[in-house]
Structures are given as C-alpha cells and as structure tokens.
C-alpha cells in the first residue's frame, strides 16, 4: 500500500499529444475515479501509471519510489484492461492463476485464491472454459478476477463493469466497495457510469483533452464544479446552462430570466458568487434540474427561491420523477417534478427556482465565477 503521485505527466504518440501535464496526488488507500469523454486519455494515463507506456515527460512516484522508468512488473500493480486482455490459450482458472504462478505462490494457496475470487465474482461454473467460450460480461469478470487474485500496492481498473447487466453491475459495485474497505488498497478506476463514480469514489478526477479539469470529492465536483465542462459532465440529467443578464434588486444581485415574455428576477445567494464585476453583463447560470421543482409550500418560503410560471414543451417520465422541458430566456431548461404534479405539453406550470446552489460561469472563459 502506498500513495501514488503523478507529477506533471505528459504523453505523446509522435506528434499527437494525449496527456498534457497531469498532476494527481493520490493518498494511500484512496479510491480515485477517473471520468471524462471518450478519447480524453484515461486509458493512456492508466497505461503510464502501470508502466506499459513510457511517459514523454514528468514523474510517477509510488510510495517513496520513483517508478517513472521502472518495468511494469516492478511497480506492483494489478490492472483490469478495458479490452479484458485474457490469455486466449488458457482456461479461466489458469488465467486467474497465471500471475500467482509467476510469483511462485504455493499450489494450494493458488487454488484457494482462485476459488475465492471465482466465488466473489460468480464465475465458479466457468473455471474450465476458454475465454473464447465466454460472453463479454463473463470475460470482464475473469479479467477482474485476475487482478483481484493478487495483492498489489495499487489496483488500476479500466471500465471493469461496463459490460455487465444492470443487476450484476450493482452487485459488483457493492463488492468493489466492500473489497476496498477490507483491503484498503489504492485504487484508480475509470468509468463512464455516473452512479459508479459518485458512489465509489473518495475523489473524482474529471479529465478532458488530456488535462485534469477538477480533482475533488464527489460532492465537491457535483456542487462546486470548476468550469462548465465539469458541471455539464457530472450529473444526469445534465445541469441547465442559461445565458442571463445580471441585475441588482434590493441590495442583492440577481439574474434576469424571461418566461413567455414575462421578466423575473432570481436573487443570488452571495455565498455562491460575487457578481459585482458583471452587473449589466451576461453570465451563464448553471442550475441543476432538481433545483427547479413544482411548488412545494415548505420550499417556497426559503430564501433565494423564486416562483416562475413556465411553458411546458416536453415531459419525460423517469418513474421516480418526471423531467419537464421548459423554455427560459429562449433556451431549453430541464426541471424535475413529482410525476403527479407534472402538467401537459403546451400548458403553463409554476416552478420554484432554488438559487441556493446555483453556480455561475464566465461566458468567454467558461470558468466558474
């Protein structure tokens, strides 16, 4: 077990620059989730940490050892590959046992270990099959098994649950969490699944274009996004972004919105942003759909809550809530209401805009204000 320091790492393939100065300092036993759009360099970063790709510049330090130029096997890392990378000539049992055999573990211990992980991952009936005789989700679990059979300093997981059915995925997610709590190993984990990211992570690193946009706890990343990209990437349905003009009302700053020709002022919590520089200018208001709800008396009384009638364009029932697409400032805006409260498309409906968690961005730089 050890901390993992990624220090200003660059990686280029010829003239294509993939990682552009990654800095992450990951504590001992921390569960870090990497998220970001496809092609942003997540797998490349994991490969660099594992030593499978030589970094172009920068350092990688595990514990006290600078491993930047160490061979993969000397870094004491186990990895689950996005493409599974199972050994095609070996059955499942041998696939899981291979790393242990190479490390000269006694035969009985290997058998015990193989059975332990096979049970954990529910692949016991498959132990004697070849990878070519497995489904995608089964292969993925074997790939997990191969990593979990070892006790390395660091685990790297590249979308390890992406191919499982919904139920199994939830089960495996819980197993991952338990496993991490039991072993306390440092884990770097790539996923495209928002819920996985929020539930598993101690900290989330949001990447885009080879640069870490934000590195913080799930709640920080969710409530306090560093820029529009992070705000829009985290959370499903995504945050609403509305271009609004900043005004002053009653000693307080507010943003002005237009619904069906009527103008409303939404007062701003001064804790959220200081907009004194932007008076009379346009900013981007970021507000999550769950902050725009149907009228609830106990919410209505709270500060920074404003009632605005909006015209419903589309409704999307999700079961627990209904998403209502409305038009504000001539832009689309999603609101989250209780299914029984939702009106019909074309109707007007009163919504409560709760600005206590609203965030603001500069329209030019798209950075947080």
């Amino acid at each position: 077990m050890a901390e993992l320091n990624i220090d200003n790492v660059y990686k280029s393939f010829g003239e294509t620059h993939i990682l552009k100065g990654i800095n992450l300092s990951i504590q001992d036993g921390e569960f870090v989730i990497l998220v970001g759009p496809s092609g942003c360099g997540k797998s490349t970063l994991l490969n660099c940490i594992a030593g499978l790709e030589e970094v172009t510049d920068g350092r990688i330090v595990i514990g006290k050892d600078d491993v930047t130029h160490a061979a993969p096997k000397d870094r004491d890392i186990a990895m689950v590959f996005q493409s599974y990378a199972l050994y095609p000539n070996m059955n499942v049992r041998k696939n899981i046992a291979f790393g242990l055999e190479i490390r000269k573990m006694p035969k009985e211990e290997i058998d015990a270990e193989v059975h332990r992980v096979a049970k954990l991952l529910q692949i016991e009936p498959l132990l004697d099959r070849k990878p070519s005789q497995l489904s995608g989700g089964q292969r993925q679990r074997v790939a997990m098994g191969r990593a979990l059979a070892r006790r390395p300093k660091t685990y790297l997981f590249d979308e390890p649950l992406s191919n499982l059915d919904a139920k199994l995925r939830v089960e495996m997610r819980t197993e991952m969490k338990k496993l991490h709590q039991r072993l306390g190993t440092t884990i770097v984990y790539v996923t495209h699944d928002q819920i996985e990211a929020m539930t598993l992570a101690d900290r989330i690193a949001v990447m885009k274009g080879g640069v870490v946009q934000q590195f913080g706890t799930p709640q920080e990343v969710y409530d306090d996004p560093a820029n529009i990209f992070v705000a829009g990437f985290m959370g499903s349905p995504s945050m609403n972004f509305l271009n609004c003009e900043v005004t002053e009302s009653g000693g307080n700053y507010a943003v002005q919105v237009d619904s069906e020709g009527r103008i409303f002022q939404l007062p701003i919590d001064p804790k959220q942003a200081d907009l004194s520089q932007y008076l009379g200018k346009t900013v981007i208001l970021g507000i999550r759909p769950e902050q725009i709800t149907h009228v609830m008396p106990h919410v209505e009384a709270e500060p920074f809550v404003t009632k605005v009638p909006v015209k419903i364009e589309v409704t999307e029932p999700t079961g627990a809530d209904t998403l209502v697409l409305a038009r504000i400032n001539d832009q689309e805006c999603e609101c989250r209401v209780h299914p029984t409260e939702a009106g019909k498309p074309g109707e007007m409906m009163e919504m409560l805009f709760n600005m206590s968690k609203a965030v603001f961005f500069d329209p030019e730089t798209e950075e947080r204000l």
């Binding site: 186990a78 493409s83 190479i102």
Partner: protein, 295 residues
Amino acid sequence: MSVSNKKGLDYWLPKLVVSPTVAITVIFFYGFVIWTAVLSFTKSRILPQYEFVGFDQYVRLFLNDRWMGALTNLLVFGVLFIAICMIVGLIMAVLLDQNIRAEGALRTIYLYPMALSFIVTGTVWKWLLNPTVGIERFIRSLGWDSFTFDWIIDPNMAIYTIVIAGVWQASGFVMAIFLAGLRGIDTSIIKAAQLDGASLFSVYTRIIIPSMRPVFFSAFIMLAHIAIKSFDLIIALTGGGPGNSTDVPAIFMYQFSFQRGQLGMGAASAIIMLMTVLAILVPYLYSELRTPKNG
C-alpha cells in the same frame, strides 16, 4: 410473369458462370485421380490397359527396394525440412516482431526465396554445393586447404543438401505466416502478462506461441504437402542421385510411370502419395471447419 423470369435468371446465372470451372475441375482433377486409381489396379505397363489384378501392383511396390528407399528419404527429408523451417521461421518471426527498424524491407527479403521456382533454387544450390566451384572451393581459396563440404556427392549425406535448399526457400514463408499470427495477438494481452510479472521469454513460451496453435497447424500442413510433393527441387539439385540416394516417392512415381514402362506400379505409388496427403489434410480441414476459432 416478368418477376418470376427474372428470378429464374438470377437463379441460373451464377451456376452458368461457374459451370466451366466446375466441369474442368471434375474432369481434369477428380477424373484423372479416378483414372490413376483405376490404373493402379491393372496390369498396365507402357500403355494403359484394363486387365485388373487387384492389389498386385501395391504388393510389388512395397517389395521394391527403391520405393522403400524413397519412402525413407521422404521421412528424413520431411521431418527435418518441416522441423527446421518451423524453428527458423518462428525465431525469425519473433525477432522481427520486436518493433525493429526496416522491418518491411527485411520481411520482403526473407520472402523473396519463396518467389523463386524450386528449379532455380535447386540449380543455384547445386552450384553452391558443388565442391569444385561452390562453397568448398571458396573457403579453400581463403586458405583453409583441408576444408571439405561435399555432401552433395556423398550418398549418405546428399539428402541433407536437399533439406538445406528446401529450408532456405520455405522458411521465409513460414516466418511470414508466424509473423501474421504474432501480429494478430492483442497487444494488451502482452501488457497484461507483463503486469502479471512474466518475462518476455515466458510471455512468448507460455502465452503467445501456445495461442498460435492454428497458425502452427497451417504452417505444418503447407510444409508437409510441399515435402510430400517435392520433385522439382530434387531433380534440379541432385537428380535423385548420387545413385538413388536422394530418391523420393514423386521421382519414383515419375520414373516408373513414364520412363520405365511400369504405369501400373507408378499409379499405385501416386495413389499412396495421395493417401498420405489426405491423411494429413482431412483431419486439418475437419478441425478447421468444425471448431470455432479460438479467440
């Protein structure tokens, strides 16, 4: 009406187009195979005749010392040729797989011998191996006066010269097959093995090479059938000599059928060769067509 007409044309056109090929294959390939089989059961000497004598020709064949000698030679040549080609081809492929520079050029150079006809290979190696003009003379001219390399005129060693020439010609091709096989392996498998702590040597011996079983099999089949049918190389290199020391079944078959007026026995030897090739090929085709590919 017009629709069904069109359907009719669509249905018949492909059959019409391939029918000449099918006809030619049936007549000249299977037809002559059957004719040869028939002749092997007759008393035919110089010309075909149809007086059937059962398995007499086969019995005579296996009582013939030259035939048994040819079979022994084929065994020696076949085993060495296949084994050495595979080993050399594999080593070259693994070396070429290490991301070296000029790989394309090297690959082409290794492949060139395969583009030559066996007659050319045979003739070139005949000169190289000839003690009075080739390697022996060259080394002696450098000063090693006692150097001797006269396998080609030594009846006990001549068969090995054929192995040398055959390996020279075919191993580049085997290398290309193996290289394609190596390239077909997902690089992340190698990465995974490295993380598991395997050395490069065990990555190859325990994972990559074992997972290339189908490739080995294809290479083996191709080499085996080159070996069994080998004729032109030997004719050009040694002509079957010295004496009959490099005789192989193909030469035996040719000489008995067309030069010695023993058409029946020649046909019998041809059928034996066909059976040998089939014995190798049928299990191969069976396994290729039946089992799904390992992935």
